[in-house]
């Protein structure tokens, strides 16, 4: 069994007043349901990828929310888009859409056609 999803993180502080939250705002616009997230961690607990590796989707979107974008794109590559987290989320956050949009905002890409 994978370890349970709530290990104790190191204490650290983020100065929100100095942080660039523009990407987060962009994300909220694309996925309005993310406004409702209460950080419960249900998504992480159900995550398919987490059964194999230490990928933590709640932590990842929470970092994004706080403007800490380092390494997130690499992290998000671990997600298989299976959709379990979306089905489990008690607040109806569209997590698959959230993940796709986070990746697109971070890599500054969009669909390619033609």
């Amino acid at each position: 069994m994978a370890e349970f999803g709530f290990s104790i993180s190191k204490t650290r502080s983020i100065k929100l007043s100095d942080t660039d939250l523009s990407k987060y705002r962009q994300l909220l616009e694309a996925v309005p349901s993310y406004n409702r997230c209460i950080g419960c961690g249900g998504c992480t607990a159900s995550c398919t990828a987490r059964q194999f590796t230490d990928f933590n989707i709640r932590k990842t979107h929470w970092y994004f929310r706080r403007g800490q974008y380092d390494n997130l794109e690499q992290e998000l590559q671990k997600c298989m888009l299976c959709g379990k987290c979306t089905l489990v989320c008690p607040r109806g956050v569209n997590l698959r859409s959230l993940i796709i949009n986070m990746r697109q905002i971070l890599t500054n890409t969009n669909e390619i056609i033609g």
């Binding site: 994978a2 194999f52 590559q77 796709i100 056609i113």
Partner: protein
């Protein structure tokens, strides 16, 4: 020159222009086929697979059989214009060939009544004259219906007609002008030369000779110009479908298919859409949510012109992938794949993706069946438990391959255009299955099932659990009691429309309970709204779609609502107090102890 008049020039120029543009486009698209498509085409180009295509071209491009089956009024409209016009050209060509005795230019067939200025000289000529009038009347009836449809689409059984672009509207006016103009031209000439049939002669006789001779040249000129306008606009508008569908049918018959990227074949598909709008009426996003700009017809149109890039992306994303439009499309365009192409994320760097899966080891499952629950089934453990009960009941040794850790089948990624990532997962899962030595793969999730069936190339049989249970029941290996519970069955999109599995789940349900009919079932079943295809609509909107589907299922007042998909089960469970169960659970409840 005999049989020539300057007024034919616009027509001649227009038709030559049309030919050149079409040949240019088609050659370009064929060159844009990808390697596999080229190979398939070259291999089969002269094979006899081509023969059935002729029948289909006749049925679909001219008679419009598939539209007629869904909506006979619309079918009549399309048929009378397409088939009527075709016959008008064909019969006209034969008539003029006989009539001109060798002095034949191809425009004579179109303007025959102008050049052949004598009354029918014998019986054959008379029959031809009447026949041509009859055909003209047939086409005109279609044009009349098209006008009615424009004004009030529901008279032709359509809730919503396609919103057309300016160009499409312009060419439509020219098309609608062609046949009334032809009627007038021929009537006026009939007045002057008495060469008309029952229709044109009667109308012609209403004119005085003076008026007729005054109108004759302007009318024929106008007719010729109108044809020219229609021909020259055609390659740039939806009417390109008239010729393109013929090619598409041929290509499909020789085995060409849509791939994950836009190719020349996609271009043929895009241009085969007649924008009939049947896909709009089918779409739950329109029916339940009133969204009217994302349906296949609009996606295809924008993709075809590769303009409105933002709209393409937005429309591409907002789709449930429920297959309802694809089911109703009379041209059978591979709409689900085109939707995926519009979502293509391109070549991202995937060297590091899913590295963590390397260490996952296979299991020695020689002689066993492999059971793949799928990610979603992990949220509905009663389904996987029931399947294990069934395996044990028939003494089947099995390997529950994703019992405590599941690898996703890759389809959710592929549906969102992450094609490389998806194929990486597919490679891993394929290795696990092949290395295990299992003799068969059974899955409980229609999404995984579609993936294994269509996207994997597995050397062993793949079955959905409903197929498997049906087989066990047929062979008499599995014994069940029939109860008198009433059930309704929900066809999951991917299992039903996607893979054509309608019979097996019903057989199983009939063996354990009383299956009741619902209003919308089989090909016509409704989407549960939770489909992984859509990442745009909100939970509230999904709920509205789900409720429509639930209303359909609860209407006959069943004891149990049965489904065959963990996702549908979860969707319905939250929306009703009624008992929602997967077929596997119902069977497990009815096993003979």
């Amino acid at each position: 020159m005999e049989n020539f008049s300057p007024f034919v020039l616009p027509f001649v120029l227009g038709s030559i222009g049309l030919l050149i543009i079409c040949v240019y486009k088609y050659v370009r698209w064929i060159r844009q086929f990808d390697r596999l498509q080229h190979k398939t085409l070259l291999k089969n180009i002269f094979s006899i697979k081509f023969l059935p295509a002729i029948g289909e071209m006749f049925r679909e491009c001219l008679l419009h059989v598939r539209i007629s089956k869904k909506n006979w009024r619309l079918g009549y409209m399309h048929r009378s214009i397409a088939f009527g016009w075709f016959l008008l050209i064909l019969v006209g060509a034969i008539e003029s060939r006989i009539g001109t005795k060798g002095n034949f230019h191809y425009w004579v067939a179109i303007f025959y009544r102008y050049f052949h200025q004598v009354p029918p000289e014998n019986h054959t000529a008379w029959v031809f004259t009447q026949l041509m009038d009859l055909l003209l009347l047939y086409v005109l009836s279609g044009i009349f219906l098209a006008l009615v449809k424009k004004i009030k689409s529901n008279l032709l059984g359509m809730k919503r007609a396609t919103k057309h672009t300016l160009m499409d509207k312009a060419i439509r006016i020219s098309l609608w002008g062609i046949f009334p103009l032809r009627l007038l031209c021929e009537s006026v000439s009939a007045r002057l030369y008495h060469n008309g049939g029952f229709l044109t002669q009667t109308i012609g006789d209403l004119f005085s000779t003076n008026v007729a001779s005054f109108l004759e040249m302007p009318l024929w000129t106008l007719y010729s110009i109108d044809l020219c306008v229609f021909f020259l606009l055609l390659p740039f508008t939806r009417y390109m479908h008239i010729f393109t569908e013929v090619f598409l049918i041929y290509f499909r018959k020789v085995g060409l298919r849509e791939h994950t990227k836009m190719t020349g074949f996609t271009k043929f598909e895009l241009s085969s859409c007649s924008r009939c709008g049947m896909c709009i009426d089918a779409c739950p996003l329109y029916k339940d949510l009133g969204i009217t700009d994302v349906q296949s017809v609009y996606l295809l149109r924008n993709l075809r012109n590769l303009e409105h890039h933002k709209d393409i992306i937005a429309a591409g994303k907002n789709c449930l992938m429920c297959h309802r439009c694809a089911e109703d499309c009379p041209v059978n365009i591979d709409l689900m794949n085109i939707r995926r192409i519009s979502r293509d994320k391109g070549d991202l760097d995937i060297t590091n993706a899913y590295k963590y899966l390397f260490k996952v080891k296979s299991f020695n499952a020689i002689g066993r069946v492999a059971y793949f629950g799928g990610c979603m089934s992990h949220l509905t453990p009663s389904i996987t438990e029931s399947m294990q009960t069934i395996f044990r009941a028939v003494g089947q040794k099995y390997w529950y391959m994703d019992e405590d850790r599941s690898i996703c089948c890759g389809r959710p990624l592929a549906q969102q255009g992450f094609n490389q990532q998806a194929s990486k997962l597919r490679r891993k899962v394929t290795d696990l299955i092949i290395n295990s030595g299992a003799k068969m793969l059974i899955t409980s999730c229609p999404i995984c099932y579609t993936s294994f069936k269509k996207e994997y190339k597995l050397p062993i049989p793949v079955m959905h659990h409903t197929e498997y249970i049906d087989k066990l029941l047929k062979k008499g290996i599995l014994k069940v009691n029939k109860s008198d519970l009433k059930v309704t069955y929900h066809d999951p999109c991917e299992l039903g429309r996607g893979c054509g599995i309608y019979k097996e789940p019903r057989n199983v349900l009939k063996a354990v309970a009383n299956l009741m009919k619902t209003q919308n079932e089989k090909e016509n079943s409704l989407c549960c709204g939770m489909n992984l295809g859509n990442t745009v609509i909100s939970l509230e909107q999904q709920t509205i779609i789900r409720n429509t589907a639930l209303d359909n299922l609860t209407a006959p007042n069943p004891d149990i609502i049965a489904t065959a998909c963990p996702m549908c089960k979860k969707a319905f469970k939250h929306g009703t107090n009624a008992n929602v169960k997967d077929i596997a659970e119902i069977v497990a409840d009815h096993l003979v102890p």
